[in-house]
Symmetry: C2
Subunit: 443 residues, 2 copies
C-alpha cells in the first residue's frame, strides 16, 4: 500500500454518572470534567449518562472554544444520556433506539426510562470520513441471575447491525461507550466478530491505566465494592473500538484510563474510569490486488466465519431463553387479568343477585364492596398494560431471533463455499416457516 | 460509461389491508393475492399491512416455489405489518422503528399499536447489491386538520436518514410502500430531495393504470368515497422509488397499477391499488471523470441544495408546531393530574378533619367517598401515563428538530462554497445552544 497521509486522532470516552440529585457530587464532577476536557482538547469526546440536558448545555458552553461542535442525542422519557463533543465539524447525525431496554416497572433500575440508544455522528478527519458511534447498553445488576441478558444481547445485535449497515461509506469507524459487558461476554464477542471492530485496549502499542484495563474499579470511592464481587479489583465494561477499511489503515499507538483519582481533586470524575485512545489514521491507495479482496466480513477466512456462526447461534439461544421468559410473563399477566375479571363478576353477582347475597341479617358491606371493586379495576388495568408491554417485548425478541436465523443461514451458505471442512460445529438452519419454539434444543 | 450488464427486475408493492375480522373479505383477498403473486413471479414483492403473522405464513407457504425467500418484520404490539418476498436470496435484514407513531389512546386509529417501521433487505440482483426498503407511514385521517402531520414528517425524516445512511454500500436502492402522503406533500419532497430517489410513476417510459397514478381510488368498493373528498377520483399515496449509484444505471421502462377490480373476481385485492414497476439495471464501469464526481447529495448543484434547505426548513417548522402541541398536551396532563391530587387531598381532609366534615346530622357518605377516591386515583394514573408518553413524544420531536437544524447548517455551509449567489431564500442557522422555541418565527 502506498501511504499518502497520516492523521492522529485522540478519542475520549466517559460514563459521567450524571443523575441530578442522586449521583454524588454531580455538579462538582461536571465542573471537573469540563475543565479537563477544555485543557486536554481531545478530537472527539464521547459521553454517556449525561441525563440532564442542563448538564449538556453547561459542558457545551464550557467547551465552546475547545470543542465548537457537539450533539446531544434525545430519546426515551429522560433521554439517551449520550453526547458527543468534537473539535471537527459534525456533518450528520443519526440515532437508533434499541427495541428492548428493560422494564418500565423496574423504575429503580431506570434503564427503560433512559431510552438507551446508539448515536452516530459523521465527522471529517483530515479528508477521511469517520463514522463515530457512542452508546450505552443496559446495565447488568446481577451477574449470577441476569434478568436483562436477553435484552442486552438484542441490544448488542442491533448495535452491530446499525454499525455494519451505516458504515459502508465510512473510511474510519470509531465506537465508544459503556457496553456494560465484560470483554468475553457474548454481546461483546458478537459485536467485535460481526463488525471486525478492534479493541483499543488490546491493540494499543502503549498503555497507561488500571491493571487489565478495568474501568469500574474497586478503588473508586463512588463504587459499592460489594457489587463487584467476585471481581475484586474491578471489571472492564467501557470501550473504545475502531476499524479502518481497504482505503484506510488505523492503529492505536497509545491508550490510557484514569485510575480512580484525579490529581489535585478529592474525588474522581465519575464512578467509571475515563478512557483515552490515540489513533493513527493512514489514508492509503489500495493496490489492484488489495482493492479486489474487500475487507468485509463476507470475505473472512473460513475459521472466522465458523466462529461467527457459533457466536450468532449462542446469541440466538440467549434470545430464545428471553422469549421463553417473556412468554411466561405475558401468560402470568393474562391469567392474573382474567382472575381480576372473574373476581369483579363474582362481586357484581353477589351484589345484584339476591340468592348469592349474604344473610339478610347482615347489612350490605359497602366499604368492602367498593374497595374490592377498585382492586379489581387496578388489577385489570395493570395486567392489560403489562400484557401490551410483554407483547411488544416478544415481538422484538422474535424479530431479533428471525434476523439471527437468517444471518446464520447466510453465513453457513458462505461457509459451504470454502473448500476446507470447517473444524467448528455448525448449526443446521431450520425451515424458515417453523414455529418459534423457545428453548428448542435444535442447536 | 461502458455498460457491462443489464438486469431486468420486477418490483411489486401492495398495502394488503389485512386486519383480521375487521377488513372485509380478508382471507379471500389473501387467497387472490397469493394466486396472483404465484403466477406473476415478480422478483421482489413488498407488502404492507400484513398485520397477522398467520397471513404471512399462509403467503409464505403459497409462494414457497415462486418466492422461496421472505422476511416478516416484527415490531410494536401487533407488528409492523411489513413483509418482503423475493425470488432472490435475502442476505441480510434490518428494521428501523420510527420514534413517533401516533398515540396509544387513539386506539380506533390503531397506528401506535402497529409499531410502524421501515424494513430493509439486502438482495443480490445479477451481481449487484440491492438495498430494498419497505415501509408504511402513519395514516392521514383528516387532511384539513391533520393532528399527525408532525409525526408523519418525523417519520419521513427518519426514513430518509435510514435510507441515506444504510445505502452507501449498495449499487441499487428500491423503496416501496404506502407513504400516506401525496406526491407534493412535505414528507415526500423531503424523502425524494434528500435521498435522490426517483418516483417510478414519474419516470416510467410506459404506464398502464389509474389516471394520474392514483392508488386510493373512488371506484374501489372497499373505499368510503366521503373520505376522499375533495379528491373525487382518488389520491396517489403508494410508491415505488428507486435510484442507482455512480456504478449502476437504473431506469423504469414499465409501470402499472391495478384499476379497482380484478378480472374474474368480484372484488379487488385490497382497498389500495397494487403497483408494479419494471426496472432495468445497468452495471457500468464509471470513467475516471465520472468516478470523481460522486452521485451524492453533497455534490448536487447549488439550486438543488438551496431547494433542500427550504424543504428541511419547512419540515423543521412542522416539527416545531408538533412540539408546541405536545408541550401543550403535556401541560394539560400535568394540570389535570395536579387537580386530581388536590381533589384527593381535599377528600381525605373532609374525612379526617372534623371541622371540614358535613353536618353531624348527616351520616358519612361512604359510597360517594370511595367512588370519588377511585376517580382521583384513575385520574392520577392516567395523567401520569400521559405525562410520560408526551415527554417521550417531546424528546423525539426535539431530537428530530436538532438533527434538522444541524442538517440545514451543513447544507448552508456547502451552499456558501458555491460561487453563484443562490436564488432561494436561505434560513439563518441559530446558535446551537439556543433554547428550542416552538413557533419561533426565526425562519
Amino acid at each position: 500500500m502506498a501511504n499518502t497521509d497520516c492523521v492522529s486522532v485522540r478519542v475520549f470516552s466517559l460514563n459521567c454518572w450524571g443523575i441530578r440529585y442522586l449521583s454524588k457530587l454531580c455538579s462538582q464532577r461536571y465542573q471537573m470534567i469540563g475543565e479537563m476536557l477544555c485543557k486536554e482538547e481531545h478530537d472527539i469526546v464521547l459521553l454517556q449518562e449525561v441525563w440532564s440536558e442542563k448538564d449538556y448545555l453547561y459542558l457545551k458552553k464550557k467547551l465552546a472554544s475547545s470543542h465548537p461542535h457537539s450533539h446531544y442525542f434525545k430519546s426515551g422519557v429522560i433521554g439517551s444520556g449520550l453526547a458527543i463533543f468534537s473539535r471537527h465539524r459534525i456533518h450528520d447525525t443519526f440515532l437508533y433506539r434499541y427495541s428492548l431496554n428493560g422494564y418500565p416497572y423496574m423504575a429503580h433500575h431506570g434503564d427503560w426510562f433512559g431510552g438507551k440508544a446508539v448515536g452516530m455522528a459523521i465527522i471529517n478527519l483530515g479528508g477521511l470520513t469517520a463514522n463515530i458511534y457512542v452508546t450505552h447498553l443496559h446495565a447488568e445488576y446481577c451477574r449470577e441471575k441476569d434478568t436483562y441478558l436477553a435484552h442486552r444481547v438484542v441490544q448488542a445485535w442491533e448495535l452491530q447491525q446499525f454499525i455494519r449497515h451505516t458504515s459502508a461509506g465510512a473510511d474510519v469507524v470509531v465506537v465508544g461507550g459503556d457496553l456494560n459487558m465484560h470483554p468475553q461476554d457474548l454481546g461483546c464477542r458478537l459485536l467485535r466478530s460481526y463488525t471486525g471492530l478492534r479493541d483499543s485496549y488490546l491493540e494499543t502499542a502503549k498503555f497507561d491505566g488500571c491493571e487489565n484495563g478495568i474501568t469500574l474499579i474497586a478503588d473508586n470511592p463512588f463504587i459499592n465494592k460489594k457489587e463487584l464481587v467476585p471481581f475484586e479489583k474491578g471489571i472492564r465494561i467501557d470501550y473504545i473500538l475502531f476499524k479502518g477499511t481497504s482505503k484506510t489503515d488505523i492503529y492505536c499507538n497509545f491508550m490510557s484510563t484514569t485510575k480512580g483519582s484525579v490529581p489535585d481533586h478529592p474525588f474522581p470524575y465519575s464512578d467509571h474510569e475515563a478512557l483515552t485512545a490515540q489513533l493513527q489514521l493512514k489514508s492509503s491507495v489500495p493496490t489492484e490486488a488489495e482493492s479486489s479482496k474487500q475487507s468485509k466480513t463476507e470475505d473472512s477466512p473460513a475459521g472466522k466465519l465458523a466462529e461467527l456462526v457459533d457466536i450468532v447461534t449462542e446469541a440466538r439461544t440467549e434470545v430464545k431463553v428471553g422469549l421463553h421468559c417473556a412468554e411466561r410473563m405475558r401468560y402470568t399477566a393474562a391469567r392474573t387479568g382474567v382472575m381480576g375479571l372473574a373476581l369483579l363478576f363474582l362481586e357484581l353477582a353477589i351484589a345484584a343477585v339476591p340468592c348469592f347475597a349474604l344473610g339478610a341479617e347482615q347489612p350490605f358491606p359497602r366499604t368492602s364492596f367498593y374497595l374490592l371493586a377498585a382492586l379489581c379495576f387496578a388489577i385489570l388495568l395493570s395486567t392489560s398494560l403489562l400484557y401490551i408491554f410483554y407483547t411488544m417485548e416478544l415481538k422484538s425478541l422474535q424479530g431479533a431471533e428471525d434476523q439471527m436465523r437468517l444471518a446464520v443461514g447466510g453465513l453457513q451458505e458462505k461457509l459451504r463455499g470454502f473448500p476446507l471442512a470447517q473444524p467448528h460445529k455448525v448449526t443446521q438452519r431450520p425451515p424458515e416457516g417453523e414455529k418459534l419454539n423457545a428453548l428448542d434444543p435444535e442447536e
